[in-house]
């Protein structure tokens, strides 16, 4: 099996005057594990359905392996899809399910059964070939769906949130399994998810989508550490957000003056002096400053809640302006009692400064939501 590249060029989708996908360009090289990450309703599933041929785009072209496939219906494209519901055929045995695509291609019974058994061995289900899908567990059904899709030797495998129905343990196990399967087969995987953890752990590259637009394409590290937009920064992981006005820019760093104090962070492209901007820093890069530490940015706050996760300790603090700040600390045995004072610090290179103009309110809302969630959990414990 060999993967093929996928190219979306100017793909646009309009439903009854509502634009589900704004003109989108995306190039995915052959053999890449590419995730499309975004909140529900952002257009990611529409994009996948256009690629698979279930939906005709309003405008734009799809190329697979450099060949245009716009004129091909779903059953003639070199793609296979794993549906959110898995869509296993309930009245067929597991073997017949896996062999279905081969049967549709007119392969003889013996040959296709043999091929199906090989694929079932690949996903460690050879002992269950004669069962029906409803006699299998959720994780086993998942693997049948993967084997069935791989049976037709697709160049591109599309996965539409296939793990969302599984419990946490199984989900984590299946992540590893899908990833290793992708490496072994070399098929291009396009993985739709709203779960940033899935996207970050499995993907070679990630496209982050919001409101019908791809906001950033990059490796998991780029997406996490160098988000291109406030939305990406807020959607992928948690952020502590400080608002203010940019007062100085030097050496790629921007200084931000706000009600909570003056902070410095890495300057993103479109920031200039005088702009209303936001500074964001990850909870795990936000620390407690010692008396002589040189962290660059400092502020005084009060510990409001603490949650022990074993190796980690999550603290929620509030500064004089009432801003909530979340810290993920390594559990070093110190207690950090609630109500106690805390000096919080973070390095300028761990913080990013972006203009507040585009999507800032959104990012802030998300961050506040995440913060509120943490506080809620802490409250329940406390």
């Amino acid at each position: 099996m060999d993967g093929k590249s996928v190219e979306l060029s100017g793909i646009t989708m309009v439903f009854d005057g509502y634009t589900a996908v704004h003109p989108t360009d995306l190039t995915i090289p052959a053999g890449e594990f590419h995730s499309i990450l975004g909140p529900s309703g952002c257009g990611k599933t529409t994009l996948l359905r256009i690629l698979s041929g279930f939906q005709r785009p309003s405008r734009g072209h799809v190329l697979i392996g450099g060949e245009p496939v716009d004129h091909l219906p779903a059953n003639r494209r070199p793609t296979a899809m794993i549906f959110q519901s898995l869509a296993l055929f309930p009245r067929m045995s597991v073997r017949d399910n896996v062999a279905f695509g081969l049967e549709a291609r007119g392969m003889g019974r013996r040959e296709r059964s043999q091929k199906a058994d090989e694929l079932l061995a690949l996903v460690a289900l050879e002992a269950h070939a004669d069962k029906r899908p409803d006699q299998l567990s959720g994780g086993q059904r998942q693997r049948v769906a993967v084997a069935r899709a791989l049976a037709v030797e697709p160049a591109v495998l599309c996965l539409d949130e296939p793990l969302s129905a599984l419990d946490l343990k199984l989900r984590q196990h299946m992540r590893t399994e899908l990833r290793s399967l992708q490496k072994r087969t070399g098929v291009t995987f396009i993985y739709i998810t709203h779960d940033q953890g899935e996207a970050l752990t499995m993907s070679d590259r990630i496209s982050v989508m919001n409101k019908g637009r791809i906001e950033q394409v990059g490796t998991p590290t780029e997406i996490y550490d160098a988000p291109a937009t406030p939305f990406v920064a807020g959607f992928v992981g948690e952020q502590n957000v400080f608002a203010g006005r940019v007062t100085a820019i030097e050496n790629g760093f921007a200084r931000l003056d706000g009600p909570g104090g003056t902070f410095t962070g890495r300057r993103m492209v479109d920031v200039s002096v005088g702009d209303e901007a936001i500074l964001m820093v990850r909870p795990e890069r936000t620390g407690l400053a010692g008396p002589d530490a040189d962290d660059g940015n400092r502020l005084s706050a009060r510990v409001e809640g603490r949650e022990l996760e074993g190796p980690y300790l999550n603290l929620v603090a509030r500064d004089a302006t009432g801003r909530r700040i979340v810290l993920h600390l390594a559990n070093d045995g110190r207690a950090h009692p609630e109500g106690g004072p805390a000096v919080i610090g973070f390095k300028p290179e761990d913080a990013i400064v972006m203009t507040a103009a585009r999507g800032a309110a959104e990012a802030a809302a998300r961050v506040d939501g995440a913060g509120a969630d943490t506080v809620g959990r802490l409250g329940a414990r406390g």
């Binding site: 698979s52 219906p73 059953n75 296979a80 899809m81 549906f83 049967e103 549709a104 409803d134």
Partner: protein, 291 residues
């Protein structure tokens, strides 16, 4: 200790609070409800019992009050009555034809209505279901005239079959629509995605899913066809079925032969449904054993 642990909590508070339930639990209410049930079953079954009994009475008109001794001659008479036997054959012939026509028609309509996403759906649904609402006389007459004037086919078994199929197909359509609405549409997409043509998908995925409904719809179509009178009567011209033949004899007074036919129908229906039910029980038991 074990006595207190084993005591179930008393949960009949709701029953006590409900005055209706209390009334029926009391002696007078219990008698009343038993009386009602008794009347209900008498009204339901007494005519059948009388009809069956009269079939075995030697008296030449259906009766149980004038008993002239047990006989099976009315049953023998059916088989010696050429018109009755021809009528029965015609009925069965028409019923089989109706199944062959109505099932594909109903299925095609149901597939169209469940798959087509169009503004015309509501209109199409009304048109396709309308034959159920149209009086049988109208269907019978119009079918007869349509086939005669448009195709030069004279009224007979064929026109009766087409007239029946026109409304029985609508019943089948409703059954198929109910079934199809419960199908996971992603199964079709999954099949297409795996390279299946629409026909292959229909044969391997949709048809097996519909198989139980096809069986049910066939039985329904058969029964509807066999018992139909008005549509058949007005479309069949000089030919006749068992039912139209029985009806035409009503004018000259009834013979207990009619009762004998009734008895045969009852026996066939009861035996068939018993076989059907027991096969279902067996299939379910097998499915459970397999799981």
């Amino acid at each position: 200790m074990s006595a207190t642990v084993g005591e179930p909590p008393v949960l009949d508070v709701g029953v006590r609070a409900n005055s209706g339930a209390r009334f029926f639990a009391s002696g007078a209410g219990s008698v009343l409800i038993k009386l009602y049930l008794g009347v209900f079953f008498v009204v339901l079954f007494a005519p059948i019992v009388i009809m069956v009994a009269a079939a075995f009475n030697a008296y030449p008109s259906p009766s149980i009050t004038i008993w002239q001794g047990f006989t099976l001659k009315w049953f023998a008479a059916i088989f010696n009555d050429a018109r009755m036997m021809t009528g029965l054959m015609n009925s069965l012939l028409i019923a089989c034809g109706v199944i062959v026509i109505a099932i594909p028609l109903g299925l095609a309509g149901a597939l169209l209505l469940t798959r087509l996403e169009s503004r015309a759906n509501g209109f199409l649904y009304t048109v396709l279901v309308a034959p159920i609402m149209i009086p049988g006389i109208v269907l019978g007459c119009t079918s007869m005239i349509f086939w005669r004037d448009a195709f030069g086919v004279d009224a007979g078994l064929f026109t009766a079959m087409m007239a029946q199929a026109s409304f029985i197909a609508s019943y089948c359509l409703l059954l198929f629509m109910a079934r199809l609405s419960r199908q996971d549409r992603s199964l079709d997409e999954a099949a297409a995605d795996l390279g299946a043509t629409p026909f292959f998908t229909f044969r391997r995925v949709t048809l097996p899913f519909l198989a139980p409904t096809i069986a049910t719809a066939s039985v329904l179509a058969f029964l509807q066809s066999i018992e139909n009178f008005p549509t058949t009567f007005f479309a069949i011209g000089p030919d006749y079925t068992l039912v139209t033949e029985i009806a035409s004899r009503m004018r000259f007074g009834l013979s207990p032969m009619i009762n004998a036919i009734g008895v045969i129908f009852i026996v066939v229906t009861v035996v068939a449904s018993l076989i059907w039910a027991s096969s279902r029980v067996r299939a379910e038991r097998q499915a459970r054993a397999g799981a």
